[in-house]
Subunit: 487 residues, 2 copies
């Protein structure tokens, strides 16, 4: 009865109804526009202006989800969503996540729910061989992995470990000393600059190393020169962040070369493979992480392309002791015999927040329901579609590839310049039949087509290509030269 | 079929099965021990040592949840769980959360799913009057609120805003300058020290202001003196963190006095009411937040005592512009017309990670299913039980109150000292019939009894009291004086 917790009987009835609602939503999602134009404030305007005094039946909520929310959402699970990166919320992961909510346990410490921590450790370890990662990331070799909320958070945690490491632990009590430098490329994810701000070293501590103009990959010689210059000037190189699969164009930084340099100078190497990393479940893509055994930490998102509903970032390190030494604060109310024995892992010390959901369960649901074969088929299907799509672009008179495609990401431009390209994106998005997003690289405006949706098939990619051509034919003709602008 | 996403038909079938599994788990939870002793590694030892190549039916997962995981979990939803603070994962919130996973949208920007942001904004605004918060925290008055993962994260975000504010924005590019000071009490949550580390000011920048020995509340005069001393020494007072309901004993810092001081000196006042804050849904508890209109930011956890499954921390600020100016980094691939118009809120700029789940939906489910009356009844019931429990303790020959009880939290000690108290806790926990946790305040070992479970009723509290007395009678007799120890 509304007003108090659902009885088991009510929960069965309403729970089945919610499951059926989701089944129906997913079943009919293609009949919806991927997105529609929404005016700021228009959703709020339809919501009641006070909270109810008395409880309401669940049907009232479902009615408003249908009537008020759905028209104001972008349907990320729609097979014609090609924006940003995919956000696979597979139904298997949804059920694993529901189990976790049903259990309602806290995994901040091993002792607050041992099975939650041990399943998470175990899956992180089993993924080491499954993804072709270096053995040093496994528990047996002194490393370890965990699940955190986002690669942006993992990047921050890596930076904090690096600051702790570079200062021999002084950082913890004394703070940063404003000589620290972190190395990125212009294509590194913006969360790394945000991490530098958060960590108190400021954005001026972020040194942007030159990239190869063709591949957008960080240039090892430029990195070497930057480090040498900083050392000579008395600054302290703390961390290099190498990216495998940048957000803009899928560029791959030279992990091995960066790792060798970092090893020589005692610099922490963090590798951010948020989107692309999960592809190494297929052996043919493991060349992308060549040299990863030299990295100190590594992250990739199961919640992007590995079928696991947000949030589920995987973070591994060869040096868990540095992470936990950097982040552990032990007030009396969290002390317990298991932690003090040293025989267990307390994952709160690997992350920013204290509390932790039992996220391993949704990942376990995915790994078991799909099996490694199923995961590989999912990845390979998209890579193959992207490769086909790229070949159409390359052969076209109207469009051109704007960067070397990587895995499921294809960047293209309309021949004719930035304005034509932007106009085409806006027109395609306005149809509601597909969603694309953009980037700007070296001052040029690019369309990003990220293929990797849960149910994206060949016909959706073909339809996108037809749409691009049609919009181009009707709106996006060549513009006078000199009219291009990237703002 | 395992190996690919569940078809809608499979999802209906398996989804109903998972719902029924949860109904059965919650229905029979009282028949389980709240926790059992688990040997480190014993759960892992029962898990398969490789990931399956081929997908498995969902039943296999459910079997292992039953056979392997359940015996290794602490059952936080058990009505006799009195440890830490409650973690109410109501079934209404579980269904709201399932809807959110089913939708699978990203709310990092308004434009990536407008309805997700607008519902969140709207609920944060409606909670302002519902919780008796100052109008300045509402959007209409230039403030605003949001949902974040944990109060530990909210405390960090508040500190970052404070650093940005205190430096007139210099912090962003130049980093911290090692003159910053943050004020806490010895009873402030440990996440504040962790936040200082993360923010690069180091734990030495955290000044521990004296507390009243009886109430454990921060002493305003001591705060004033500490600020004056730091100003005289050329340091920069950045933030005061006042707690409403400390983790150890439920102490309440003097928010109004701290706010008046902060206003005089231009210091950011953050109020952390992680556990206790939600109680102000009942007007009779609003005296706890007297003076909150002077605070710059405020957080409380719907995922502790307000019936919403983890994670769901509410964070409000009077100065959202400071937060977003501190944390916004805008790479090209996230630029969009709506953000640039200034007419929308992009919640990624209020938090550490970039990605965001649609968490407002589970909170909405709770607020509508329970209604404000239902929420008040939930809180009042526990407060009344705690008050009764405290009266038994006070009247007992074997136990004594160890701190003034607050709301649902009662701290007690066995007469006879620390060892007796610790032994009693360990014995009670070993029975599996209740879970208690401890703290140490002023060198004295205390048992914490946090009453607030989803289904905790009078009979569970009575049973706990009987258990405590029985254990005391059989094991916890008075110890020789001088044998007490707090380590």
């Amino acid at each position: 009865m509304p007003g108090q917790d659902l009885t088991p009987e009510e929960f069965r009835r309403v729970g089945h109804q919610v499951v059926d609602w989701i089944a129906q939503y997913r079943e009919t999602i293609e009949q919806r526009p991927v997105r529609v134009e929404v005016k700021p404030g228009s959703v709020r305007a339809q919501l009641p202006d006070r909270l109810p005094e008395r409880g309401e039946p669940f049907d009232a909520l479902l009615d408003d989800v249908d009537g008020v929310l759905l028209p104001g959402l972008v349907h990320w699970q729609h097979p014609s969503f090609f924006g940003y990166f995919p956000a696979n919320a597979s139904l298997a992961s949804a059920l694993g996540d529901l189990l976790s909510t049903g259990l309602g346990v806290q995994g901040m410490l091993w002792s607050t729910s041992p099975a939650a921590t041990e399943l998470e450790q175990h899956l992180a370890d089993l993924l080491v061989p499954a993804l072709g990662l270096p053995a040093a990331f496994g528990t047996a070799a002194g490393g370890g992995g965990m699940i955190t909320e986002a690669s942006s958070s993992a990047n921050l945690v890596a930076l904090l470990a690096a600051l702790h490491h570079a200062s021999d632990g002084d950082w913890q009590a004394r703070g940063v000393d404003r000589r620290e430098v972190v190395y990125v490329s212009a294509h590194t994810h913006s969360s790394m600059e945000k991490a530098a701000r958060i960590a108190g070293i400021g954005s001026t501590a972020v040194r942007v190393v030159d990239s190869d103009p063709d591949t957008a990959a960080m240039l090892p010689d430029a990195l070497e020169a930057a480090v040498a210059e900083d050392l000579a000037a008395g600054r302290r190189p703390v961390m290099v962040c190498a990216t495998v699969g940048t957000t803009s164009t899928g560029a791959v930084d030279p992990v091995r070369a960066a790792g060798e340099l970092c090893a020589r100078h005692g610099i922490w190497l963090h590798v951010d493979a948020a989107w692309a990393g999960v592809a190494t479940v297929c052996p043919e893509f493991r060349h992308l992480i060549d040299g990863l055994e030299l990295a100190d930490s590594y992250c990739t998102d199961a919640h992007k392309w590995l079928l696991t509903a947000f949030d589920c970032t995987l973070l591994w390190t060869r040096r868990p002791g540095v992470l936990t030494s950097a982040l552990a604060v032990v007030p009396e109310y969290l002390r317990n015999a298991a932690s003090e024995s040293g025989a267990v892992v307390d994952y709160r010390d690997w992350q920013i927040p204290l509390g932790r959901r039992f996220r391993a369960l949704k990942l376990w649901a995915v790994l078991r329901w799909y099996g490694l074969e199923g995961l590989r088929a999912h990845i390979r299907g998209h890579v193959s579609l992207a490769s086909e799509f790229a070949s159409w672009v390359a052969a076209s008179d109207d469009f051109e590839l704007a960067a070397p495609p990587l895995l499921g990401l294809v960047c293209l431009r309309a021949r004719g310049g930035d304005d034509a390209t932007r106009t085409i994106m806006e027109r395609v998005n306005a149809t509601g039949r597909a969603v694309l997003t953009h980037t700007v690289v070296d001052g040029r405006y690019l369309l990003r087509v990220a293929i990797g949706g849960l149910n994206t098939e060949r016909r959706h990619v073909e339809a996108l290509w037809r749409e691009l051509q049609a919009v181009r034919a009707s709106h996006g003709g060549p513009e006078p030269s000199g009219a291009a602008s990237s703002t």
